[in-house]
């Protein structure tokens, strides 16, 4: 029974496709999966937008939207109608072709990434040998679209926002990739399906997720920070900071194109959360061996939603980082720690099984992290705060 619930989407697809002649079945199956992905993720995007507004509201001692529908549940529909019916204003001297193509390219690039995410047992659209590399390649293509958006608007501030966004994304792409290289080292394969299967084993009821190892945990923290920066998410949202550059690189976009940018940003968030879940949190495997009765796709999506809730939580908590603080953080703190993490992962691998490798790896990581952190603090020379009151 639980096996059927687990594979329900596969069985449904096979049943639907069996109505077609044999030659068309494979293509129809793939098309059906693509349609499902394109339908499910914007739905999740609507849910995430609602969650964000309500969650941020509650964290800021206020209610979120609660007028449209019960508890504001129809607010995304109202937002959709608004963005569809707004006038689409293109600046007179803007570069029309590039201005039009930028949101299109963004949405295409972020949706392509979902082709390789294993969303459940046997539920991956394309099982590539180098699927992790494919995902990162698609993520890198989003930078071009951001630059296109900023430049084609012929607006100084848009261009500035686009430059900042591209610089930030490039800087944080290196820790993002390197923290996943440690995972690849351990699994021995670039294929996301194999990475999840490697984590799907249980010892004493606890899973072998990579986040439960010292180097995996450090890699996870680095991946979370880098993914927040990749998707221009607070506290790294200076390029689109509302109080800074109006809306940064999408200032000159209105109506449906703005909605596409918004959609692209959130769906990109889902994509990178999905990748993080696959790499570190075990993908579709359940946390305890006994809980395998719950379908695998349910585990995947709940983990992704937990990740999104964590993003929203961090957005409600931390102030925005300034551009130079952001870059300093990336190149002087996160990148050296990522390289150290790689070395520690290698040490783990070559030390063999046993408790010694846990102690050694954790000790090295903690000591270096504390050392780097405290030396940064000391260099900044934070004195006691002084206040000056108006007399």
């Amino acid at each position: 029974m639980s096996e059927k619930a687990d594979q329900i989407f596969i069985l449904l697809k096979d049943w639907l496709v069996s109505f077609l002649p044999a030659g068309w079945q494979h293509v129809a199956g793939v098309l059906l999966c693509v349609v499902m992905i394109v339908a499910v993720y914007p739905g999740l995007f609507a849910l995430a937008v609602l969650l964000e507004r309500k969650g941020l509201g509650r964290m800021q001692n206020r209610l979120g939207p609660n007028r449209v529908g019960p508890f504001g549940l129809f607010q995304p529909i109202a937002d959709g109608i608004k963005s569809l019916t707004k006038e689409d204003i293109v600046p007179l001297r803007a570069d029309k072709v590039v201005h039009f193509l930028a949101p299109v390219m963004l949405v295409v690039a972020v949706f392509m990434g979902f082709a390789v995410l294993p969303m459940g047992r046997n539920m991956v659209l394309v099982d590539l040998d180098a699927s992790l590399l494919f995902f990162f390649a698609m993520g890198a293509s989003t930078e071009i679209s951001i630059f296109m958006a900023g430049w084609s608007s012929r607006n100084k501030y848009s261009l500035l926002g686009a430059m900042r966004a591209v610089a930030q994304m490039i800087s944080y792409e290196v820790p993002l990739l390197l923290s996943s290289v440690a995972i690849v080292m351990m699994t021995g394969s670039l294929s996301l399906v194999k990475i999840v299967e490697a984590q799907n084993q249980y010892t004493w009821g606890l899973p072998h997720w990579y986040v439960f190892t010292p180097w995996g945990f450090a890699g996870f923290v680095i991946f979370v920070i880098a993914s927040m920066a990749e998707t221009n998410r607070s506290p790294f949202d200076l390029p689109e900071g509302e109080s800074e550059l109006v809306a940064g690189y999408f200032t000159e976009y209105s109506g449906f194109k703005f909605a596409l940018f918004f959609l692209g940003e959130y769906v990109g968030m889902f994509g990178i959360s999905g990748l993080g879940v696959t790499l570190f949190l075990g993908g579709w495997s359940s946390p305890l061996a006994v809980l395998n009765v719950v379908p695998s796709w349910m585990w995947f999506f709940s983990k992704v939603m937990v990740w999104i809730c964590f993003f929203i939580w961090v957005r409600g908590t931390l102030p925005r980082l300034r551009q130079d603080q952001l870059m300093n953080f990336a190149w002087k703190f996160v990148l050296p720690l990522t390289l150290l993490n790689l070395v520690v992962a290698a040490v783990w691998r070559f030390m063999g099984e046993g408790w010694l490798r846990w102690v050694v790896c954790s000790a090295v990581l903690i000591v270096v992290y504390a050392g780097a952190g405290l030396s940064e603090m000391r260099r900044k020379k934070f004195g006691p705060r002084s206040y000056r009151y108006a007399e």
């Binding site: 570069d95 590039v98 590539l128 040998d129 180098a130 590399l133 494919f134 990162f136 390649a137 698609m138 993520g139 890198a140 293509s141 930078e143 071009i144 630059f147 296109m148 430049w151 261009l159 430059m163 591209v166 490039i170 792409e173 021995g188 394969s189 670039l190």
Partner: protein, 168 residues
């Protein structure tokens, strides 16, 4: 020579021609990005997965950005307002240079193709084999490339620092 090959080839050639013939430099940079994409698709069509995805990751994700930044930081992005039309004034010269380079490269490839072994099937190269080759047989070129990149990074830092010194 399947349909896919002709379509990808058309995309690549169109992108490359547009990169040479267009008036606006940033449009040329975006067209060369399209040509890179065409090359990546060509690699993928030949079942070289690693090369194709690495092409997208490196060329479109980094080199294209670099080209665009270079155009923007110099004054190449200013378009002369008096000109109408999509193509630049010097399109003929660009086309002649491109044709000359193509002729030289094509002659070189055809000459060396005569010496290649005739194999019907291409062996599938997995990422693991690439990795082992890089670390085993080709480790010296790998280290030299790394050294070159480090030298370039240090040079960039020194150039930027000098500018700051001049400004002060």
């Amino acid at each position: 020579m399947s349909v896919a090959f002709w379509l990808i080839a058309a995309l690549t050639v169109a992108g490359a021609l547009a990169a040479v013939l267009l008036k606006n430099l940033v449009h040329c940079a975006l067209a060369v990005t399209a040509a890179f994409l065409g090359l990546a698709l060509m690699f993928l069509e030949l079942d070289a997965q690693f090369a194709g995805f690495a092409q997208i990751l490196v060329y479109i994700g980094a080199v294209a950005i670099l080209v665009v930044f270079a155009i923007l930081l110099t004054r190449g992005s200013e378009t002369p307002e008096k000109e109408i039309g999509v193509f630049s004034r010097t399109w003929l010269a660009g086309l002649i240079v491109a044709a000359a380079v193509f002729a030289v490269l094509g002659w070189a490839v055809l000459q060396s193709a005569a010496g290649l072994p005739h194999e019907a099937a291409v062996p599938a190269v997995s990422v693991q084999q690439i990795g082992q080759a890089l670390m085993g047989q080709y480790v010296l070129p790998l280290e030299i490339v790394a050294l070159l990149l480090t030298a370039a990074t240090i040079g960039a830092v020194i150039v930027a620092m000098h500018e700051k010194g001049d400004a002060q």
